[in-house]
């Protein structure tokens, strides 16, 4: 499963919300430029921002008054960048919040075929959170944990 599909699952979770420090990404076809444009936003404040102006083919912005990019139909189309360490850290915080368990963490485990699997791990061995995984990536384990949150 690629990061975009995972990100769509993440934002569909009831425990999902944008957190300061996360990185959002949105790619879209810009009719004026005639090419696909990727805009990255480092979340700092409210996402309720009007984006106007002319983007370059790729731009990194902050979700504040500094945003000056056009072609953005609505901010809710943005997806979290699950390859970004800060975003993954925030996703872990959301999982902990959703489960009410500050001991939750991701753990790498060696599978029988010698590949790495990522599972969720927490202090309480009886917690169903410990049954989440294994998955191929750390991000997938976190998204699955957020989906499975009570």
């Amino acid at each position: 499963m690629n990061y975009e599909e995972l990100a769509k699952r993440a934002v569909a979770c009831k425990g999902w919300r944008w957190m300061p420090g996360m990185r959002g990404v949105r790619s879209f076809f810009h009719p004026t430029l005639g090419e696909h444009v990727t805009v990255n936003v480092r979340i700092e404040s409210s996402l309720d921002v009007e984006l106007i102006g002319t983007p370059s083919s790729s731009q990194e912005l902050v979700s504040s008054a500094h945003c000056t990019v056009s072609g953005w139909t609505k901010v809710s189309d943005m997806l979290p960048d699950l390859a970004d360490p800060a975003t993954v850290g925030c996703l872990l915080a959301l999982v902990r919040e959703a489960w009410g368990d500050n001991t939750a963490s991701t753990a790498a485990t060696r599978e029988l075929d010698k590949t790495t699997g990522w599972i969720m791990d927490c202090w309480n061995p009886q917690s169903p959170l410990n049954k989440v995984g294994p998955f191929k990536t750390e991000a997938e384990a976190l998204v699955a944990a957020l989906e499975a949150a009570p």
Partner: protein, 132 residues
Amino acid sequence: MENDKVEISQRLVACKHFRWMPGMRTLGDWRVINVDSDGVEVVTDLSEVVLFHSGDLPHIPSSLPDLNDPATLGCLLALVREICGDSEMHLTLGGAGWVWLSGESRVANVVLDIPAGKTEAEAITLALEAAP
């Protein structure tokens, strides 16, 4: 932030392997948005974008990393994995505190040779301090 976390932040920035990463937040409520050869670009608490030349930021008051910030902790975890060359390193809470494991060591039930930390932030600091 509690005094012990400030102390840990000070230890962190003193580590030779520490570097600012996009997404980190400072105790002064600044957010790092870009890091390149020109320096570290931050958004200040007044929503101003400021570029600090490499090496300057750690010496500016209140520019310690905010260890209560989940994004900052995520960056630091990635930094430890990069410095230690082990993408499977992870923290888990055990009887001794937050301990470092890797995929391989989990099977063998052996923790990595890094002291446990009372908090995740302390464990991260200990890992960076211990890195060669």
